[in-house]
């Protein structure tokens, strides 16, 4: 069973890694075939939630991932609407995860893609991500939980996928309602059909295999299990080979695409993402997949990430490529980590008293 699951995860990883390289060749920004944080941020910009002119675009990859997960979970019986597990805390944690990701300039999935492109700043981010997951595992082992999810109505479970469909219809039918970047990363994108197809495939495959960037490292810490990490490794391998073939591999810290070399902030940004992801029960990609399966808790986390991305640009928390974060971003990341640790500590102490 373990070998079969590892095999499926490996194939899923190869698919996503290869799709990411193809999307980059077709027009997405460098090492950004997929980036859940960046693409939610771009989508937030398109919806006028922030006004950073270079990061506004409705990313069909996001729509595809949510709808791919929704469709396959309905087809296979995995669509089980549930919720009520600390939705407001999940919103706040999702918000902080997004701020951390935008200080690093990428979600855990893009971190792997950046590594596969030779961007060594992502290696610093990976160390921070592992550190954050390690701290989260200490809390999990001592009682941390956001509480039990209860059964919800079908309409509650389908609300976020439904909103996603509505957004896609508006994007196709009334694009004048939305904002689109004319320069910068938001203006760089693969054709809509290719991006949507890649998202759908990634959503279906990730739902079937439970692919999760944070879960792989968490399971190594907690139960010495290497199943989930095989997906992470396969994405790296496929993207590395793809980048070598397309000539996009460039090893180093300087002048990497949509990246900055400020090590401490790459580390701390991903520490916030790692810790927050463990508290949420999965990385940003996994939150999209779970939201597609009908989890309104994960939908709360996704909404928190969207609002977090809007705040990150409205209040100058996000890093600039090459220059890194400004003062606001640095303060926000440190404050975010403190808030995450405070939430985890309070909840853990309360759970231990109950036990």
């Amino acid at each position: 069973m373990d070998i079969r699951e590892k095999g499926k995860l490996g194939l899923t990883g190869l698919l996503i890694g290869a799709a990411a390289v193809i999307l980059t060749v077709l027009g997405n920004p460098g090492n950004m075939g997929f980036c859940i944080a960046c693409f939610l941020r771009d989508t937030a910009g398109a919806m006028h939630l922030h006004t950073a002119p270079i990061v506004e675009y409705v990313r069909p990859e996001i729509i595809g991932i949510i709808l791919g997960s929704f469709a396959i979970s309905v087809a296979t019986g995995d669509f089980r609407p549930r919720g009520g597990s600390s939705p407001v805390l999940r919103f706040i944690i999702g918000f902080i995860v997004m701020v951390g990701a935008l200080v690093f300039l990428g979600c855990p999935l893009r971190m792997v893609l950046r590594l596969a492109g030779g961007d060594l700043n992502a290696l610093v981010g990976l160390l921070g991500f592992i550190a954050g997951i390690g701290v989260g595992c200490i809390f999990l082992s001592n009682g941390f939980t956001l509480g039990k999810a209860e059964k919800q109505s079908a309409i509650e479970g389908a609300a976020l996928p439904g909103a996603t469909i509505l957004l896609f219809v508006l994007f196709l039918a009334v694009p004048s309602l939305l904002l689109f970047s004319e320069s910068g990363p938001g203006s760089m994108h693969a054709p809509v059909a290719a991006a949507l197809l890649a998202g759908l495939l990634a959503g279906v495959a990730a739902e079937r295999t439970r692919l999760c960037m944070a879960g792989g490292i968490r399971d190594i810490f907690l139960i010495r299990d290497f199943t989930l990490i095989s997906g992470f490794a396969a994405i790296f391998l496929a993207a590395l080979i793809g980048n070598l073939i397309t000539g996009s591999f460039r090893l180093g810290f300087a002048d990497q695409p949509v990246s900055h070399p400020m090590h401490i902030w790459n580390f701390l940004g991903m520490t916030a993402v790692g810790l927050g992801s463990v508290m949420l029960g999965g990385c940003p990609l996994r939150q999209l997949i779970l939201a597609g399966e009908g989890s309104s808790d994960s939908a709360s986390a996704v909404l928190g990430m969207i609002v977090g991305s809007a705040f990150a640009h409205n209040f100058s928390l996000a890093s600039s490529a090459n220059a890194g974060p400004g003062t606001n971003g640095k303060v926000a990341v440190v404050a975010g980590i403190i808030i995450l640790v405070a939430i985890a500590a309070v909840v853990t102490i309360k759970e231990r008293r109950k036990a």
Partner: protein
């Protein structure tokens, strides 16, 4: 573990799994929840000793027993 005797318990939290394993005997192991049981990626406890409902608590979700190639539910909170 003897495959015929294997049972698996699923939980609402990782801590619930840790506490259950302590009560389930020496042959109990923490492992990922089998994909066939759940689309969640939580922690399960695999064990072979007879299941006593008294070792379950509010964090325990369900217990399954191996039945050929499938899992058969034998207890649910």
């Amino acid at each position: 573990m003897d495959p015929e005797d294997i049972k698996v318990a699923t939980f609402h939290s990782h801590y619930g799994a840790i506490m259950f394993r302590k009560r389930a005997g020496v042959d109990a192991e923490l492992r990922p929840v089998p994909r066939t049981l759940s689309s969640s990626c939580g922690t399960a406890v695999f064990f072979t000793s007879p299941f006593n409902p008294a070792i379950a608590d509010e964090n325990t979700e369900a217990v399954y027993m191996r039945d050929g190639d499938c899992w058969r539910e034998i207890w649910r909170k």
